[in-house]
Structures are given as structure tokens and as C-alpha cells.
Symmetry: C2
Subunit: 387 residues, 2 copies
């Protein structure tokens, strides 16, 4: 039946704006706005790896299409880079460049899930992963994991958390480490147990490791070496090298599987931006990216400690977020009232319900603005929380 002027009911049922439900409130605020609701960095990308550094003289045709799977040179460089970092030899055929890690993950969801299929998602979760299941008419199933009352405390409990929510329609699990929004990292033993369980159950493992450069305590566990035929890893230059707006990321996985995922990429955005691929290639090959990441890691670690101290929260082990439970400060207006009290002071934080069943949490990014401004934001938050 025609549906004009409506859109698909499944899409109409999705919530629209992911992070900014109280942005309206800010209109009456004339002071400093501190936007800690988005995951971004205040730092410009490394010198030599900016758009101004890419000339037509040096790169004729640099504004033209690239192949849908990415520039060959970049796929080769990524294969070398991730092979060395993860300890698993990787060929360029096992790398697909994408329009950011968002596009990388949406190709995996679109190619592996049929409508009605379920994906188990480690929660609290990055909001877009749930929405991309819905965009392809799959069902995201949150698995409470790193926050709230039901958190597992062992590898066995970690597997149990997933097992309890598995149904006949489950086809994949989504893991994310270092973790957005909790700031935790997945212990090696837990990662091994989860991947082994997925193998028993014949499930795909989609592993989001875009914050792998930002671990401050413990280690980053690369999931792909645990089961290279099963694990598809999403990665990005956005977080590692301060290039979120470039929209360039990548997947690492079995070559035959990536050929399937590429069909979704080709038909949703065609190819990653060519200039952004050249910028990423420079960051990888010149070493400027690694230097930038090392410097950022140190600054972020300091900021994470300082931010956590102001709130009396645990120091984050990785990523760029804290995810405090603010329930003691909620009145009869609940979280919306709290978000509005933040906005009335110019502070934007992201509401817990965007991240799963977390009605009393907020996510705060400690790298989204210059350090002094971030710390002013945490002072406001500490004051509002009476901490």
C-alpha cells in the first residue's frame, strides 16, 4: 500500500536526534557553552596531515572517486599498521576503508542481519549501533555489562549476560573496547571467553575498537587474533588522529566477508572521501599520527583523572568518557530536569537513555573541548551533583 506522506513505520518509530534533547534550552543562555555531549577532541589533527597539506600538484585527481574498498596504498598501509599492532598478520584484502567507523559498522550490520534478526549489544552502548540495527530493520538487544545493577564481575558472568539474551534470531554480538561510554576496557580473559562462546553458538563478533589508542590502565585487547574467521573489527582515524570530520575509518575481517559488506557500503555512500584517505595515509606513513596519538593519550589520561576526581568517580581506564549515575540528584522531573539544570549553566551532557536502559546516567566527554573548558564543565557538574 502507498504510504505517502508517511515514511516507513519502522523509521518513524526511531528517535531522531541522538544526543541533544535539551539543545533548545540553550537558546536563552548567553554565556559560555560547554559541549561535553559529543565524542570529539579539541585538538587539530597532526601537522602535515591536514587538508591544507594535500595539493593537486602532488596528488593529481585527488578529488575524484576512490575504489569502493578504498585506495590500494591505504589498504596496504592499514594492513601493515594493524598487523603490527594486533600481532595478527593482515593482508590488504582483509581491510576495507569506509566513510568513518560509523559507515564501517553499518555495512557490517546491513550485510550480516536480515530484517528481524537480533544483535546482542554490550551496554551501555554507543547510541548509533542500536540505531543502525533499526535502520536495517534488525533488533538491537542490550546486554547490561559495564554499568547499572547487573554488571558481570567475571568472565563467566560476562558470558552468562550474553547467553541469557540469545534467541533463535541472534546472529551477531557487538563488543566495544575501550568502552564508550563507561571508560572501561574489556579484560583479556573476558574477551577470550566471549569470543569462544560466540564460536560455540555460531555467532558473528563485531568488535568496535576505535578508542584503541586511548588506554590509560591495563591493556587494549585486539579481538580479531582470537578468532580471525569470526571477528570483524571496526577502526577509525577519527579518534586516533583527531580527524572525526574527515569520515574515514576501516574494517578488518575475512576477505570474503568484507566483499559482502562492501556491497552495503557501495550502495549507501559508495566510497570514503579520497582526500580523507590521503590524509590518513600520511598520518600512518609519516609517523605523525602515532606521535599525535601518544601526545593525546597523555593529555587525555590527565584530563580523565582530573575529571573523575572532581566527580568522585573511578578513573577511566580508556576512551574519552565518564558515565556517572546521577540518580541522587534527580527530582520529580527526572533526568530531563537534570539535563535542563546543566543546560541552564551552558553545559551539555548526553542523556543515559541514549545508551540503553540507563534512565539515571549521563555521559560526559572529557576531550570534546579545550582542557580548561572541560574542567570548568566538570566543576559545574560536580556542583550540581553536590560532589
Amino acid at each position: 500500500m502507498p504510504r505517502f506522506p508517511a515514511s516507513s513505520p519502522a523509521i518513524a518509530a526511531m528517535s531522531g536526534s541522538v544526543y541533544s534533547s535539551v539543545a533548545e534550552r540553550l537558546r536563552s543562555w548567553s554565556g559560555e557553552v560547554i559541549p561535553l555531549n559529543i565524542g570529539d577532541t579539541w585538538m587539530e589533527p597532526p601537522e602535515g596531515c591536514r587538508m591544507e597539506d594535500l595539493t593537486v600538484a602532488e596528488h593529481p585527481g585527488m578529488h575524484r572517486y576512490s575504489p569502493p574498498a578504498g585506495l590500494k596504498e591505504l589498504r596496504r598501509a592499514v594492513a601493515t599498521h594493524i598487523g603490527a599492532r594486533s600481532g595478527l598478520a593482515t593482508s590488504p584484502d582483509e581491510v576495507m576503508i569506509s566513510a568513518g567507523a560509523t559507515a564501517a559498522l553499518s555495512t557490517a550490520v546491513g550485510a550480516l542481519l536480515d530484517p528481524g534478526d537480533e544483535m546482542l549489544i554490550m551496554a551501555p552502548y554507543w547510541p548509533l549501533i542500536a540505531g543502525m540495527c533499526q535502520a536495517f530493520r534488525g533488533t538491537p538487544v542490550p546486554v547490561p555489562f559495564f554499568a547499572g545493577p547487573e554488571v558481570p564481575t567475571s568472565a563467566e558472568e560476562a558470558v552468562d549476560a550474553f547467553r541469557r539474551r540469545r534467541t533463535e534470531r541472534t546472529v551477531a554480538i557487538y563488543l566495544n573496547t575501550p568502552h564508550n561510554p563507561s571508560g572501561r576496557v574489556l579484560p583479556r580473559e573476558w574477551a577470550e571467553a566471549l569470543v569462544a562462546w560466540a564460536a560455540e553458538e555460531d555467532l558473528w563478533v563485531i568488535s568496535d575498537e576505535v578508542y584503541d589508542e586511548f588506554v590509560y590502565a591495563g591493556e587494549h585487547v585486539h579481538l580479531r587474533p582470537l578468532d580471525p574467521a569470526r571477528v570483524i573489527t571496526a577502526q577509525s582515524f577519527s579518534k586516533a588522529y583527531g580527524m572525526t570530520g574527515n569520515r574515514c575509518g576501516y574494517l578488518v575481517g575475512p576477505a570474503a566477508t568484507l566483499a559482502e559488506l562492501k556491497k552495503i557500503g557501495t550502495h549507501t555512500y559508495y566510497c570514503a572521501p579520497t582526500p580523507s584517505q590521503l590524509a590518513a595515509l600520511r598520518a600512518l606513513e609519516s609517523g605523525a599520527g602515532a606521535d599525535w596519538a601518544a601526545h593525546a593519550r597523555q593529555r587525555y589520561a590527565e584530563l580523565g583523572r582530573a575529571a573523575a576526581a572532581k566527580l568522585g568517580e573511578p578513573v577511566p581506564a580508556g576512551s574519552t568518557f565518564l558515565f556517572p549515575d546521577v540518580s541522587p540528584q534527580l527530582d520529580e522531573r527526572g533526568l530531563v530536569g537534570f539535563l535542563e539544570r546543566c543546560a541552564d549553566r551552558g553545559l551539555l551532557v548526553a542523556p543515559g537513555p541514549s545508551f540503553g536502559p540507563y534512565p539515571t546516567h549521563v555521559r560526559v566527554c572529557f576531550t570534546a573541548a579545550p582542557p580548561e573548558q572541560v574542567l570548568r564543565g566538570f566543576d559545574i557538574l560536580a556542583e550540581l551533583l553536590g560532589r
Copy 2:
């Protein structure tokens, strides 16, 4: 049921590589390769609108995320631009910036079609539009229109061609003018009749007008003014200003509908690349884009005439393609044999079946390489066709 190690059957059934089935053949060729199989331009984008022109000093934070619907300044500039070109006053809320027109169209397909829904597609068609229906598990229904034995010759026949293929599952029609791959433009009377019929049937109209700067005979008909509540127009800076690799395009449509489409965009690629949006803004505001397009239009018109003359085909009225029927030259190996004979001379052309039920056609782009090279390509083609 788990499906590891398989992907979704619907995606496995899609063909993978869209244009380049005989690329392998080229490996044994050491001469000049003439790639007329892709729709692109040999010209660099306008000076002042290249990546090297965008500096962090002038645009602090230019490598960071933009809002999912695009930079406000760009939405405003596009609204002014398209309002003036189409004659329909357009507000920035009626503009959504996307990661190229490909992403623009995929958000429309993803938000308007439910799995199993059908879209009627003017054929021969741009291959990605059929694939994006499949990516979202809809069904593309080709409507033979601008090539082959069943072409309509009046507005009434044009409507009949669509009407005959409409079913209970049809929710949208896809029109494209100037037309890829036939080089034709939709006459005003036909456009009006088709949009009026869509209104009678309560169907959405998705109008792909990315070649609107490239009309050499007749006029470009903007479809949105015919029924602004129903027509969603996809546009791009890629073709108009030589920026295909930048991945920046846009949709113009009803604000409430774009808010639905934005959900798909947010969850497949998040936002268009920020530097590419700034480049597009410069092209629009400085007038350099319009100058480039005017110059390109003249060069393309000459090339189209020359290419058509070599093959004895009708001169294209618009776009950058010819779509000759090569059936007289096919032997028992059919089109594959012909494509291989082209590849054996270094010439790549796109196979007709990628564009719908056209087993004996090929698409040839007359702007994808420098003019002298394009003309050499057409000489080879003319020779192989005995024309």
C-alpha cells in the same frame, strides 16, 4: 538461526562489483588504459575550492564532526542556490547535506521503503539505485523508458510505462534527468504527467538531478516545483564542480520528511565530511563553482557531439554518457566477448546489464578521461563496432 560464516542471503544474492567485470582482463595489457566505464571528470575542481585552499588557521575545527544534516552555512547557501535555480523558494530546513548524492538517495530509499516494498525505476538506470533498494531489502522494478524496444514516445505512454508496473507494494518512483546512462533529458510535459500520476497514486517521487548543470539541448526540468510535498530531489557537488571524491551532496524535500531520512544518514555514515562541505560552500559562494560548471558544460557538449559522431549515435542532450546498442557486433560469446575485445585494446566500458534489462548495450562516459584520450577510446569503439 545463526548464519555464520554466511552473510544475509539477500546481500549474498546481490552482484558485487558494479562496473568492472572485465578488469581482470587488463592485467595482460601493457598499453594505455582508457577507463570510460566510470562516471567522472578529468578536470580538477575550481581553484580556491580545493582541499589545499582550506586552512585550519581560517577554519579552526574544520576536521571535526559537522551536524548530521550538514553545516548551517552550507544548508543556507544551498537553499538560496537551488531556490534561485528551480524557481521554488527553499528554506535551509528543506535541505539535508549528505555524503554524496549516493548517500542522499540511500537515505531516501532506506526511510521510505520497508522490506519487500517496491520502487519503480526509470530504466536504463544508474546501477546503484537498484542496489540500494536491495541493500534495504526493497525491490527495484525497472521501467523501460529511455532505451530498448519499449521506449515511450509521449507523456501518456510515459505514464503508462510506470502504471503497468505499479503493484500494491509500490511506494515510490525514481526519475532521473539529465539521464544516466542514455544522455536524454525528460521533457517538461512528461515530467508533469509523471508527477501528477504519482500524486493520484499516492507515491513518493525521488528525483535524481545530479547532472542538472549538463544540458546541451532542451531544458533541465526541476521536478520539485511540480509537487513540493511529494518530490525529494537528490543533488551533488560532485558532478557540477568536479568533486566526486569529496563525497558531498544534498537532498531537497519537505522538512518533516528530511528529518526521517536524516535518521538513516545518521546511522549509516553520521555526517558528510566537514572539509568537503567547506569546499562546496566556497564553490557556491565565490561563484567559482558556477564558472567551472559553465566551462565544463561547453567542453562536455563538444565532447558529446564528437563522441556521438564517431559512433553514429544521436548527440546526447545531457549528462556525460552514451548508451549504444552493440548487438550487431556480438558473437556467440555475447556482451562479455565484446567487453573483452574492448579490454584487449585497453578500453573499459560499462556493461548494459548493470543498468537493467539491456543485454546488448554498453555505457560509455565521455568525460572520464582527458579529451584526447576519450576520443581515442571512441575511435577504438567505433572500429570494434565497424562504424
